[in-house]
Symmetry: C2
Subunit: 88 residues, 2 copies
């Protein structure tokens, strides 16, 4: 397949999975309810996304760099919210 078409597939994937993650971030920001979120899982996810981002650079994949840049930020926000709003 033409590489432009492949990149279109990738961007559709990027937009869908990034969009599916945003409502969680928005909900946590609004409600400050972090009880259902597990800090170890958030950190594992965040580190995983950073690895995908680095991998995306090496694979020269614009879709992966785009998606994982955004998700690096949004997943870091969840880690921050969990830290900030957790009942002590």
């Amino acid at each position: 397949m033409n590489s432009n078409y492949i990149e279109i597939l990738g961007f559709i994937a990027a937009i869908l999975t990034t969009a599916a993650f945003l409502p969680q971030v928005y909900k946590t920001w609004k409600t400050k309810d972090v009880s259902g979120l597990s800090m170890p899982m958030l950190i594992i996810f965040f580190v995983g996304i950073v690895f995908w981002l680095i991998y995306g650079f090496y694979k020269e994949s614009p879709s992966m760099i785009f998606a994982n840049s955004i998700t690096t930020i949004t997943s870091f926000m969840l880690v921050y919210f969990k830290f900030k709003y957790e009942k002590r």
Copy 2:
């Protein structure tokens, strides 16, 4: 960087993000509590993962094929649980 090392990076990413998703699936399976899950978001996520899987095949990325094959199954399970356990 040597392509083997790049693929190791990708596999670390694959294992971390896949592992971070599993507790959600397990929790939903055990509790049958799907109230916090949104069906449109689950479907958007599932379709996005299928697109990443197809993209991974075209990019000839073993890490992406591995991670997105597993997450296709686990995200489909969440769609199924939501459909099955949703209060009518």
